[in-house]
């Protein structure tokens, strides 16, 4: 945790309310995100119990699996989920704008510009908590290799038609969520703590109710009290007033309400199957429907508070203006969405179970680059984030007190002005360290020359040599060099990231990494065994 984050948490404890750690919103929010509040069955990883899903805060769609161990009911749930999610995704797939992309021409081997489609916007998925993102990944993995009856008439448990496709999309979203700064799939308990520091630990911040209590406590109550209440308060039936944001449920709910209700449902179902005539069956069907309705009501009662909390959190985030670079990063998300849309349309197989060596290395390189980019962009977009970097000695701000013109040696001397910046920050400047400032949206580099004496007040006069972005002439272009009296901010980190080296194609994986991965085939789903009770 950075020093400024620690200080913000201490202030939050003292003042009883979360402290802002950002002045702008660092993640893009679309106008119409799809909120997904899933629940799973205790002890049965990957067995959904139900979900609230939708784009309208007043009209969520409730999906429930009355007997989570029943494979058919689970497929029905997934098919319903696909009916909600896929039309939402499709709505964005067709609205495109023209864009250009650099590609290598297969014949000449040169880099050429190619006209391509770019989706004008992308669907955005919001889940309450980090565990929700894991669950999206799990759903994706469990669905994308399923076969439908159309694909394979022999398959013993054919999946409903659109379920494998939903699995591919959820896999893509789950994978994209691992890219730093991406916003296709966001967990509210990740995004809110990015913008506010509470007076509790980051582990406790994963409780959405407690987190919101710190950020926006009710009138007349401190954040700490409200958070404690959100975590612990139970009603007369012993149920949490603010249920966990899932996908795990509260054991008290499982034991005292859910388990008996599922048992009643099972009994009603067995009774219906044993009915001997039509009249009896009619009665028993009524009992089964009632039992199912009861479970639906239970699931709704523990998802609805989370659903409302998610929208409240989104309101809080929307109140912040969006950071300048968040839009750039959203464009990358749109590219990612468009790319996957194209792969689906082209009939490519689902994402493999494991990445091959080259894909894994490419993903890691991309994510490291995006992480560095994110850190730089957040600081440039937000003076409060920059303050944290200044406090950590990674940037400094101050007033230009002197500018002396100087030139480089050589045949064609270029301008290398010496700029003195008076700062009270304490940057960790090493010998000839490179520093950067944003000049007209472009980074300008300078070199640390030395200190022009330390001053009593703890401040320092830093002498820098500007080395680029001054034009081609002997004299620097107007406005390209800071002037005396200017307020400037230099960073020790680079503003833009260089692209890494190109890795070999997977077919050319070298011997050190096991050689080419071989034919990629769609693997069969795991065979069903005796132990597969689900």
């Amino acid at each position: 945790m950075s020093l400024i984050a620690t200080l913000a948490r201490l202030e939050a404890v003292e003042s009883g309310v979360a402290q802002a750690t950002a002045t702008v919103r660092h993640r893009h929010l679309t106008e119409r995100p799809l909120v997904f509040v899933p629940l799973i069955t205790a002890g049965e990883a990957g067995a959904p119990l139900g979900a609230l899903v939708g784009t309208e805060r007043d009209a969520p769609r409730l999906l429930v699996v009355p007997q989570p161990r029943d494979r058919d009911l689970r497929f029905a749930f997934l098919a319903e989920l696909a009916d909600v999610v896929l039309p939402y995704i499709d709505a964005y797939a067709d609205v495109v704008e023209a864009a250009e992309r650099n590609e290598t021409d297969p014949e000449s081997g040169k880099r050429v510009k190619v006209e391509v489609e770019l989706c004008a916007d992308a669907p955005q998925l919001i889940v309450p908590s980090r565990a929700g993102i894991e669950f999206v990944r799990l759903l994706g993995r469990s669905m994308r290799f399923r076969r439908t009856a159309e694909q394979d008439p022999e398959t013993p448990h054919p999946a409903p038609p659109r379920v494998p496709l939903l699995g591919r999309w959820l896999t893509h979203y789950g994978e994209r969520a691992r890219v730093p700064g991406s916003s296709l799939l966001l967990a509210l308990t990740d995004v809110l703590p990015r913008h506010w520091a509470t007076g509790q630990s980051s582990l406790e911040d994963q409780h959405l109710g407690a987190l919101l209590a710190w950020i926006d406590p009710p009138e007349g109550e401190s954040g700490a009290e409200a958070a404690l209440r959100a975590e612990l308060r139970r009603d007369a039936r012993g149920q949490l007033v603010c249920p966990p944001a899932g996908p795990a449920t509260d054991p008290a709910f499982d034991n005292t309400l859910l388990a008996p209700a599922i048992e009643r449902y099972d009994r009603a179902r067995t009774a219906l199957a044993a009915a001997e005539d039509g009249v009896e069956a009619d009665d028993r069907l009524g009992a089964l429907t009632a039992a199912e309705r009861e479970i639906r009501a239970l699931v709704e009662s523990v998802t609805r508070p989370t659903w409302d909390a998610v929208w409240r959190g989104l309101d809080l985030l929307r109140a912040l203006p969006e950071g300048t670079h968040a839009a750039d990063r959203w464009t990358r998300d749109r590219w990612s969405f468009t790319g996957h849309r194209d792969r689906v349309t082209a009939g490519e197989p689902p994402q493999p179970r494991r990445d091959d060596a080259v894909t894994a290395a490419n993903k890691l390189a991309t994510r490291e680059r995006e992480q560095a980019r994110l850190e730089a962009q957040e600081a440039l977009d937000d003076p409060l984030v920059m303050a944290g970097r200044r406090l950590a000695g990674e940037a400094f701000a101050g007033e230009v007190t002197d500018v002396v013109m100087a030139y480089s040696e050589g045949k064609r001397p270029s301008p290398r002005p010496l700029v003195t910046v008076r700062t009270e920050d304490r940057p960790h400047l090493g010998e000839r360290a490179k520093v950067y400032r944003s000049s007209g949206g472009k980074p300008q580099a300078a070199e640390f020359v030395g200190y022009d004496g330390f001053e009593d007040s703890g401040g320092a006069a830093v002498v820098l040599r500007i080395v680029d972005k001054m034009g081609r002439g002997k004299e620097p272009e107007a406005g390209s060099v800071p002037e005396k009296g200017d307020l400037v901010c230099f960073t020790l980190f680079e503003h833009e990231q260089r692209g890494g080296a190109k890795l070999p194609d997977p077919e050319e994986t070298p011997w050190t990494h096991g050689g080419p991965p071989g034919e990629t085939t769609v693997p069969d789903a795991d065979p069903v065994t005796e132990e597969d009770v689900l």
Partner: protein, 456 residues
């Protein structure tokens, strides 16, 4: 807590241990496999100061002499320049290419005075030279060239698997050299998703190489020429429990003397203890502190100041006469960069310049007469995986030729006992021994015998 004991060390024949002969035997075997072996790769594990660079230079010269075009892959520009200078020192006539980036000041200016070293940003300009040297990052950009017949990969344990993937197409066979006990490479984003895969891109290059090619010959350099006889047993036991090594020098070969007697202060007493025993622990009162603990930082600076003021002289097998202990022979090691910055500022306040102050990552591969270490766990309320990492402590405790002084708050033993390792177990990942918890305990219990308690 289990230590490697005497019984764990393979029983040697009765003949006395002759470090020179042992090292020569190991080197001969490595060169035989490299030049005449049938395998595509040879792996050499080298403990701290075991003559890794000497081996690389010698192997490079022999490969060049055998007429095999050679590429050398190192990890940093400083390592590359150092290798070029060493090669030129051994054979000034040898044509060497230094492939470098197009940044400003891409290489050490000292290379400009070497006639047989050609420098370029393009690999094509260096084609046909006996040896071409560059960093892994620069090599990764080289495309569309005839593969080299042989490569030497230096510091291969600090190279990431994905970096090797980017360059492995450039050579047919390779000699991989490195120290398995130092810091593992790291990624700045999570990579758990690939944990357990043989080609996990965030693992070390050697891990991936051996997972796919388990039949490759593995060698080990058995003698540390850097570490004194006081340090080699501890470092070997704590960090290399299954691959022990010995010191190349005896207790009588190295001595550290000070002209100015002790003034009785904590820094002076710990300096005397370290001069005598090779290790010294300056223990400050227990306290939870921020990372840049002002008292501990000041204590480190004071120890360095006194080391310089007391007119130290180091006697070793390298020279007949004692060599003055000057600022360039002393280093300060820390875990974090802000700690290094704080120590630098504290040293500047005491008028000390020219003493190297850096983090463990940046001290890797370097050597000094005396090191002063700010213990990674000093003053911490918790023991995270970062601070427990075996390699970090190993680097900090194995940079010295004479003595190592550790500055630490009391209470680290209790801290370790309160924080057993809780990292999740990843399927398919080879468990690394020793773990940081055990190595830290081993080092602490040894340091405890050389403790000087001090209240500044």
């Amino acid at each position: 807590m289990s230590h490697a004991t005497e019984e764990d060390v393979p029983v040697k024949p009765a003949a006395p241990f002759d470090p020179g002969a042992e090292a020569t035997r190991a080197t001969e075997a490595i060169l035989r496999d490299t030049l005449h072996g049938s395998h595509r790769g040879v792996v050499v594990d080298s403990p701290p100061g075991a003559g890794k660079s000497t081996l690389v230079v010698r192997a490079a010269l022999e490969l060049a002499a055998a007429g095999r075009p050679l590429m050398v892959i190192a990890q940093t520009n400083a390592q590359v320049d150092d290798l070029v200078l060493r090669l030129a020192e051994k054979d000034p006539e040898l044509p060497v290419g230094r492939l470098h980036s197009s940044d400003s000041d891409p290489y050490d200016k000292a290379l400009d005075s070497l006639e047989n070293v050609r420098k370029s940003t393009k690999a094509a300009d260096l084609a046909g030279l006996d040896i071409v040297i560059s960093t892994a990052a620069k090599w990764a950009h080289v495309k569309g060239v005839e593969p080299w017949r042989h490569a030497i990969v230096d510091e291969a344990y600090q190279m990431r698997s994905d970096a090797l993937l980017a360059v492995a197409g450039l050579f047919e066979r390779a000699l991989f050299v490195g120290d398995p006990g130092q810091l593992d490479p790291f990624a700045i984003v999570g990579s758990e998703q690939w944990a357990g895969l043989s080609y996990d891109p965030s693992a070390s290059a050697v891990t991936t190489l051996l997972a796919h090619n388990p039949e490759l010959p593995q060698h080990r350099l058995p003698v540390s020429w850097r570490l004194p006889a006081t340090a080699a047993p501890l470092v070997s036991d704590a960090f290399y429990p299954y691959t022990p090594f010995r010191s190349g020098t005896g207790h009588e070969d190295r001595r550290l003397n000070f002209a100015v007697p002790s003034d009785g202060s904590g820094p002076d007493r710990v300096i005397d203890e370290a001069a005598e025993a090779g290790w010294g622990l300056l223990e400050l009162p227990a306290r939870h502190t921020p990372r840049t603990d002002p008292e501990a930082v000041r204590a480190v600076a004071q120890v360095v100041r006194r080391l310089l003021d007391r007119g130290g002289a180091a006697t070793s097998e390298r020279a007949d006469d004692p060599v003055p202990l000057t600022a360039d022979r002393i280093a300060v090691g820390t875990a974090h960069r802000d700690q290094a910055a704080a120590v630098r500022a504290a040293l500047a306040d005491l008028g000390v310049t020219d003493v190297t102050v850096d983090t463990a990552n940046r001290l890797q591969g370097r050597e000094f007469d005396v090191t002063v270490v700010l213990h990674p766990l000093s003053g911490r309320p918790d023991a995270t995986a970062f601070h427990l990492e075996t390699g970090r402590l190993c680097v900090l405790a194995s940079r010295h030729r004479h003595a190592c002084i550790v500055v630490c708050r009391a209470g680290v033993t209790e801290l370790l006992d309160d924080h057993p390792s809780t990292e999740p177990v990843q399927l398919g990942v080879t468990v690394k021994f020793p773990d940081g918890w055990e190595a830290n305990h081993a080092v602490l219990s040894h340091l405890g015998e050389h403790r000087v308690a001090w209240r500044p």
